[in-house]
């Protein structure tokens, strides 16, 4: 349950389904928008993760 990737995909799935149902009516338009949002979020997340990969994460922040 605590896999970063699984949670990211789950989040993208919920958000993309929500906006698809909110903004589109036809099945074809819904599928198109769903894929755009879902793949945009997951792909964008992976891209940002890949760009950040060379940077060291450093020590964990202190808990207030």
């Amino acid at each position: 349950m605590l896999s970063h990737f699984l949670l990211m995909v789950l989040y993208a799935l919920i958000v993309s389904l929500f906006f698809t149902l909110l903004w589109r009516r036809g099945r074809r338009e819904q599928t198109k928008l769903f894929l755009q949002i879902f793949l945009g979020m997951v792909g964008g997340g992976l891209l940002v993760a890949w760009l950040m990969y060379p940077f060291p994460s450093g020590p964990p922040a202190p808990i207030p």
């Binding site: 949670l7 989040y11 009516r25």
Partner: protein, 140 residues
């Protein structure tokens, strides 16, 4: 009095009722229970789907022990975050005052859970606006 040929929109009706339903009931029910506003406006399947999505987001955030925002003195951004979280309506108050839920900052899923909980509130706020648009005839 409008000029001939002007594009001024017709005045809105003075009452909250419209052929689609009562605006006050639609907005209040949409806020209190996610999707209920759409069910009231006879968009039953969509209302049910919205209910499932918002409640799923809330339950995942709850399971991950995310932060259910409340106002922290000296931190003005928590006011916005609290209002956003309160957007989920009755579930927010059930979590906050019924289960005395506060989240667990030491939990491994704290940050993700916070995002899920806040998203549930913000999605429901959009549903309230959508119900408002439907009842005023601006959207089908």
């Amino acid at each position: 009095m409008s000029e001939p040929g002007s594009t001024t929109a017709p005045p809105l009706p003075q009452t909250a009722a419209s052929p689609r339903g009562n605006a006050v009931i639609a907005v209040l029910s949409a806020w209190l229970i996610p999707g209920l506003g759409h069910i009231y406006l006879k968009r039953r399947l969509r209302g049910l789907a919205f209910f499932v999505l918002v409640i799923a987001s809330m339950l995942i955030g709850f399971r991950l022990e995310g932060n259910l925002y409340q106002v922290v003195p000296g931190q003005p951004l928590t006011i916005l975050a609290t209002l956003g979280s309160m957007g989920m309506g009755l579930p927010y108050f059930l979590l906050r005052y019924g289960l005395h839920y506060q989240g667990n900052i030491m939990g491994a899923g704290y940050e993700y859970g916070t995002a899920f909980l806040l998203t549930a509130g913000l999605m429901n706020l959009l549903l309230v606006l959508d119900a408002w648009d439907i009842v005023r005839g601006k959207k089908e």
